[in-house]
């Protein structure tokens, strides 16, 4: 069993298709919707955490791509540039997933696995050390 975080992007033409339903029905995967939104370009965006066998997850990804869903590796959505970071810690108070945290030596660290891509941190860093790839 593995857990993966995936950002699904639905182009306007397939927004109405019940694609996510098939994740359970056909691939027997457990999922948790961390975030879902319709962007101003009328695209659908959904952040999913899926759990299941590696094989089934890969089959599911192929199905999603075939249906026209774009997939992004959400695990690397937010990046903390350690060279720029001054280790203040303002981001920690804004992080819903508790992905930003202070190590015992007061160094700011970022745990990709805990990030739910809420984006609240994006405009908080005074030295622009937090970047988004999504």
């Amino acid at each position: 069993m593995v857990t993966e975080k995936l950002m699904l992007i639905f182009p306007p033409n397939i927004v109405k298709k019940p694609v996510v339903y098939r994740i359970v029905k056909d691939f027997d995967l457990e999922f948790n919707i961390l975030r879902a939104e319709i962007t101003s370009d009328l695209e659908g965006k959904m952040l999913l955490e899926i759990k299941g066998s590696k094989e089934r997850i890969n089959e599911c990804k192929s199905y999603l791509v075939k249906e026209g869903v774009e997939l992004e590796e959400a695990a690397k959505g937010i990046i903390l540039d350690k060279d720029k970071c001054v280790n203040c810690g303002i981001c920690i108070s804004l992080c819903l997933g508790k992905a930003f945290y202070l190590k015992d030596n007061y160094e700011v660290n970022f745990d990709q696995n805990k990030c739910i891509l809420c984006g609240l941190c994006l405009n908080c860093c005074p030295v622009k050390a937090i970047k988004s790839k999504i």
């Binding site: 001054v86 280790n87 203040c88 810690g89 108070s93 804004l94 908080c124 005074p126």
Partner: protein, 388 residues
């Protein structure tokens, strides 16, 4: 047991000085008691690395040929104040670029100068018989200019507020991004490492005190603006809000971008992280009483920054121990906390200063005058001339 600055400096010169950081002294006092600590330890190093908006630099550009009496000056499109003589200017940290807005400004010019980068200088003038030139466009860097020194009117605040937001919308402040409905709270002081919290009554820090500023030697020039020593204090001398402040001066050309860092708070503007370290001589047992201060003894007041007034409603006091735990309680709600100053960097500075004192490259100074221990901050009222 009392010690003079001269005696401590003799120990520094002979390599016998014993130095601890303001963090290390806490456990030393717990294990050895006040008297023994006062006898064993000679110096305690304190530090902070925090955004300090009231900062800036004086620059003398040198004279062009034909010369110009600059009346308006821009450095990389950031206006600098030039109403001082002919080729002197003051660039303030919070000044915004006229072309890039909040993405670039005075603090970035200062950081770029320290980094040795070339800066575009533009100036205009009305022209005089002795200064005929009316405009100049050229480039400078820290090697082409005469003097460049940081002169920060208000740094090293002795404690500060904790900021939160009760309103239904996100607000953007100099204390950072504050989420709605008490979504988070931010604070700024270095707490137990903070210089002025370790010498709450300014017994050793005074005008003329030699300090670590931005990676090089600096000095306390004066009490800072808004110096407010009469702020309410706890029995241990710690003020419960912003109290004393320092005006600092130091050679920009010798500074390092490791300890001076430009910053932008979205929606608020530009500020500058300033790294400051201040050595505190352990002159007597009373000094140890102050130096043993720890985060759980230091309290700050939580204010609601969504209230756009001079006096904001308060939600009581919290300790730095609570603030550093990552959450505080406001109205029975758990509120995540974040610091806008870097404790890691403050600790690094305290250790650098400790090493410099131990290896004899940094000696201590006696203040040439004391900081005021009385006085409050006045407000600006809107009045007619007759009412004044």
């Amino acid at each position: 047991m009392t010690k003079t600055i001269d005696e401590i400096n003799e120990k520094i010169k002979s390599g016998k000085v014993v130095v601890l950081t303001a963090e290390e002294i806490i456990s030393y006092v717990e294990e050895n008691g006040i008297k023994k600590t006062a006898s064993d330890i000679d110096v305690v190093t304190t530090a902070t690395f925090s955004p300090m908006c009231s900062s800036g630099a004086f620059i003398n550009f040198g004279h062009s040929d034909p010369p110009i009496k600059m009346s308006k000056v821009w450095l990389n499109d950031v206006p600098a104040y030039a109403g001082i003589a002919a080729v002197d200017a003051y660039i303030g940290a919070t000044e915004l670029s006229e072309t890039e807005g909040m993405n670039y400004g005075g603090a970035y010019v200062i950081e770029d100068l320290i980094a040795g980068k070339n800066i575009k200088l533009r100036a205009t003038a009305y022209g005089t018989d002795c200064y005929p030139r009316k405009e100049i466009n050229t480039y400078i860097n820290k090697d082409t200019i005469n003097q460049a020194y940081l002169f920060n009117p208000r740094n090293v605040y002795q404690n500060y507020s904790v900021a939160t937001n009760s309103s239904p919308k996100t607000i953007y402040t100099y204390m950072g991004k504050l989420l709605p409905h008490f979504g988070n709270a931010t604070y700024s002081s270095a707490g137990q490492l903070s210089p002025m919290l370790n010498d709450p009554y300014y017994r050793t820090i005074g005008i003329g005190t030699k300090i670590f500023l931005g990676g090089t030697v600096g000095f306390v020039a004066w009490q800072g603006t808004q110096h407010n020593p009469e702020t309410e204090r706890l029995p241990n001398g710690v003020p419960v809000g912003g109290a004393g402040t320092l005006a600092l001066i130091g050679d920009l050309k010798q500074m390092s971008t490791k300890f001076i860092k430009a910053a932008t708070f979205t929606g608020y503007g530009i500020t500058m992280f300033v790294g400051v370290g201040i050595p505190i001589p352990v002159i007597d047992s009373e000094m140890v009483e102050y130096l043993k201060v720890k985060d759980e003894d230091i309290y700050a007041t939580v204010y609601d920054y969504s209230v756009q007034r001079r006096n904001k409603p308060s939600y009581g006091r919290v300790s730095y121990k609570e603030l550093r735990s990552g959450k505080i309680t406001i109205h029975k709600r758990e509120v995540p906390t974040g610091s806008i100053s870097s404790y890691l960097k403050a600790r690094e500075i305290a250790h650098i200063l400790k090493d410099q004192i131990k290896n004899g490259t940094f000696t201590l100074t006696q203040p040439v005058a004391n900081l005021p221990t009385e006085g409050t901050v006045k407000a600006l009222d809107i009045v007619s001339e007759e009412e004044l």
